[in-house]
Symmetry: C2
Subunit: 282 residues, 2 copies
Amino acid sequence: MRIGIVGLGLIGGSLGLDLRGLGHTVLGMSRKQETCRIAEKIGAVDQARPEPDILATCDLVFLCTPIGLLIPVAEAIQLHLNPAAILTDVGSVKASLVAPLSHIWPRFIGGHPMAGTAESGILAAQNNLFVNRPYVLTPTPETDPEIMPVVTEVVKSLQSILYVTSPAEHDQAVAWISHLPVMVSAALLGSPTNHESQPEILELAQALASSGFRDTSRVGGGNPELGRMMAEYNSIALLTSLKHYQQELTGLIELLETQNWSGLEAYLAQQAQARPAFVGEA
Amino acid sequence: MRIGIVGLGLIGGSLGLDLRGLGHTVLGMSRKQETCRIAEKIGAVDQARPEPDILATCDLVFLCTPIGLLIPVAEAIQLHLNPAAILTDVGSVKASLVAPLSHIWPRFIGGHPMAGTAESGILAAQNNLFVNRPYVLTPTPETDPEIMPVVTEVVKSLQSILYVTSPAEHDQAVAWISHLPVMVSAALLGSPTNHESQPEILELAQALASSGFRDTSRVGGGNPELGRMMAEYNSIALLTSLKHYQQELTGLIELLETQNWSGLEAYLAQQAQARPAFVGEA
């Protein structure tokens, strides 16, 4: 197949490495000439250019830009695509993207490969990034039935674990396990920082903080722009999660205020039991 | 010095190993004869017995039992101590313990070595557990001035980093960085578990959960009995922290509801800036 990749960062570059390894011809597009040059040099693409006409012969095109650029980039390339081409993306939210992207290009299907590293950019691209990692596809009732088999085969060839669900269900699931943790964790950092009125207690807290605080605060101290984007593009599901979370917290506060220690222990025991199903130890 | 250790688990056993290595005579007490035998065998004590009379000749006694046993154990041993003996504990909360323990034994000073491993019990005891770890001492205005220099020297000989503060300040600091994270993290597990009404979304969330959810949920999925104890013995400081945390969360929900994305990004940027001071990267 001739496969296009728009946006040559960690995800786009890693896709290119694997897809070329599988025998496909990979054509890349990046705004920066220098990125195109590096992508060619490391073998992530056969050829890359900043101009969208490079995509003209592609059967399948992956949009791999940051979430905020997906719609404008789709607008910019659509006149250059083969009418039979299938378009897909790798954005971490789906409902708010699938609708406009399907409108721009009806042969579109939303996708979300859940893989990554702490690094970003084309130089972080690596082979086998998607092996044994989830890859969610989100067809809708309007998705052309020809599309799923093509994209499914490519996803499976990456050795990803395929999940198929609706955009809305995807978004609620990732709100629970990816976007809610960022907010919960950020608020943990904000609490002593914004509310501790005694500087000596804040300093002592900072000095005494150890692995528990380090782990619980990690995702809340991450890239603010990414956090904002996930909230902006998944605000409905995230708000639902946040309000349920607030109810849990109110319940915990009530257990403490009523000194219901056996109730608190039972609550904590329920969570200790619930965790293995989420962290692959069930 | 002749040093007594009551409660021969990870902390008591590790203290014994180090203190014997420093040339002190260490006398241990544990309810279980078998634990006494193991402690002797691994060299954590010179001698150990279940009976409190073994403490009669000690100059300094460490109470290393679980928090819930500290007061009854102090009651049980006090008749057997040398009137000049100094008593200290290793409990992770202070105000609710320092007052009753000082009442039982006026020559008491609260302590909290912040070290540990995932293991527990005498077989987990190890040398140098306290090296470069915080060790908080919490004297009060009533603490006999003779006591601090003696305990300070022992703490420093363990190569711990000594902090001296009041019981209440200690408790508020550990509420922020140790006890609040447990509650925040448990509520993260409880939210999808108790509120997701669609089982297929819950299952998808469990399947897609990755390192972010793993880290943020770790301390909330820990030992429920320990979580209950820290809440029970530090309920006032923990409630203060939880209520401030709830305000942070309400603020985040408002940012999302008003679609104040630049405000959200600024909030997340503030937390990314705050975190290094807590995790030793400042």
